[in-house]
Assembly symmetry: C2
Homo-oligomer: 364 residues x 2
């Protein structure tokens, strides 16, 4: 993790994971979400908080979800349905619910299909923000499968050589199980930086780093220091990973288009044929390891690889080399013991919303 996105230790309030979970469930239920759904939604959010994915946890997302329920933009009790299906695929309509709860259900369908015919691929339209995509990918890894989750929508990424945003940050998450080693769990926006991280950096008073965004005319800002109100405005243009053509921004851009196709075109979601700002859709997939070979052997080989990566000789200034999922695993262990570090302003929001909703406030 970069320091940009951590609440500084001297102001952070450590909140017990169980209490945070209970309060989050209560908030969802107060918005009209049925209890089992509220529990699921809280689980997805708390996973992010525990894992150090602070951009996608309670602190950064819950208030947006509450606002979305309150304005009726999101359906608190959606009736998700499968609109087309084959032995290995399903196209799902999310009935305007929150992706946070819809994506896990889509992944359950994918896992069932993978168990039956080897792989399951499920695409979802008419669904909202899905939280940390890594959560959904990890569901498959916990079932000895390879898991994939992507989500597309909005306008944030500026194509290579372009001077206007056309794609979302379009993250790819991918997970695979080890035997004794922490699982591999990759989850990253195809922009140089996640959209939420720009907001979080601003909230913490940090400016924008070189390579994150384009200047007004589309040229990559490789000096840094773009204005903090940039992210909120209609001018927002985030650079694809690679930042400039010379450094490979066409790769981040191309992967971003790939995510748009898999999520939006494949689910026939509204707005994807016209690059609409309002489009949003998801893609999840599960590949059963057993379909390809012996599960134990796979996990032992994975362990060998993961240990090998973590044992890579480090460059000067660094003690260790990580693989995706390892820092998150270590953070989960630490935060389950010591609590999630929240910004005091987030605790304050919880106090206010609990008072407004007449929920017992029990965080700190």
């Amino acid at each position: 993790m970069l320091k940009h996105f951590q609440v500084p230790d001297d102001i952070a309030v450590r909140v017990d994971v169980g209490r945070l979970r209970a309060a989050t469930e209560q908030v969802f239920m107060h918005c009209g979400v049925p209890e089992s759904e509220a529990r699921l939604g809280a689980d997805v959010l708390i996973f992010a908080d525990e894992s150090g994915i602070d951009t996608h946890g309670v602190s950064n997302m819950l208030r947006a979800y509450v606002a979305s329920y309150n304005s009726k933009a999101t359906n608190p009790d959606p009736k998700m349905k499968i609109v087309r299906e084959t032995p290995s695929t399903a196209t799902v309509d999310g009935d305007g619910g929150l992706g946070l709860m819809i994506a896990p259900k889509a992944m359950e369908i994918a896992i069932r299909k993978a168990r039956e015919v080897g792989t399951g691929v499920v695409v979802v339209r008419n669904s909202g923000h899905l939280g940390a995509a890594g959560y959904h990918a990890m569901m498959a890894a916990e079932q000895d499968m390879i898991g994939w989750c992507m989500t597309a929508g909005g306008k944030a990424m500026v194509p290579t050589f372009g001077a206007e945003a056309q794609l979302g940050t379009n993250p790819i998450a991918f997970a695979a199980p080890g035997k004794d080693e922490p699982p591999f769990m990759f989850d990253a926006a195809m922009t140089a930086i996640a959209g939420n991280k720009i907001g979080l950096a601003n909230r913490l008073g940090n400016g924008m780093s070189p390579g994150w965004v384009a200047n007004e005319d589309g040229t990559p800002d490789m000096e840094g220091g773009a204005t903090p109100d940039f992210a909120a405005g209609s001018m927002r243009m985030q650079l694809p990973v690679g930042s400039t053509r010379e450094l490979g921004s066409h790769k981040g851009y191309g992967l971003g288009v790939m995510v748009d196709i898999l999520c939006g075109q494949l689910s026939f979601a509204p707005g994807f044929g016209s690059l609409s700002r309002k489009r949003r859709a998801h893609f999840v997939a599960a590949y059963s390891v057993e379909a390809f070979g012996d599960v134990d052997e796979f996990k032992e080989n994975m362990d060998g690889m993961l240990k090998g990566l973590a044992a890579t000789k480090p460059m000067p200034g660094h003690d260790r080399v990580f693989y995706a999922g390892l820092p998150e695993h270590e953070t989960r262990i630490e935060r389950r013991e010591n609590g999630v570090p929240l910004h005091p302003e987030v605790v304050e929001w919880f106090r206010d919303i609990c008072a407004e909703f007449e929920i017992t406030f029990d965080l700190a």
Copy 2:
């Protein structure tokens, strides 16, 4: 395309595509490759040459393949077999053949399965270099499917914070059809630059650009100008796309691991559990569009998206914005008419090999 990788117009020899194809087939057959296989291998190579993917065409690859057949490292007449299978998956043993001809056959299996149950995922072990991964992904797009091809192996990519190479350049190719617009075809190494491009830049007398490689101690070379013999040596350390942690190199690195898992772990290929330098494996997948919805509607939506991307307002110094596959499409039209520009040294090699193999030399 960057100028780094183009043969300068004033020295290039334009060679007719048909003649280049015929000569390439003859060379393969002289190495012991059966005629139908030789035709397929030539088709994969010529696709790259026509499309401007010069790194993976005849000029850059054929001599390596010939050397590999001559040294018995590659089996010219492999008996590929399926070692495990489910309705949507297959694990294939390539019997030590060239991936160039094995990957298309794996993709044919994937396409057949996708037609039957919605998706097909095929992994391949014991196979050699597969040429331009985009060719194999495009096979699916031509059948109204989404196509994927990845290949993993060797040691070229240095993990973020690392000081030794652990992964291959691990390219991802992805293709999807439009209706009237040229198809989307993405094909890129997960390093900042493809391995072959370093060789090609050196051959053309160009040095290495900032962000491509790590210095000897693992620190990213952001100044450029690393020594040209770097790529050939055991010290070779290519940076993941993103180049530095601050610019997002952990994304290129994580995607590189994902490719290693999908190709190598899932195919149970030798060496992937120990990050061996000698490992190599492939992954192909086809998703039938019809399994998810109406094919015509999908293609019309794709056209809307692709036209929208190409119509993006460009930044200063650029006339146009592209999407992956569009420059390759335009290059194919131009080169089919005017021939493939080869370096005189490549034409010379053809002359020599034709003399040695007693094949009629008919290029120029």
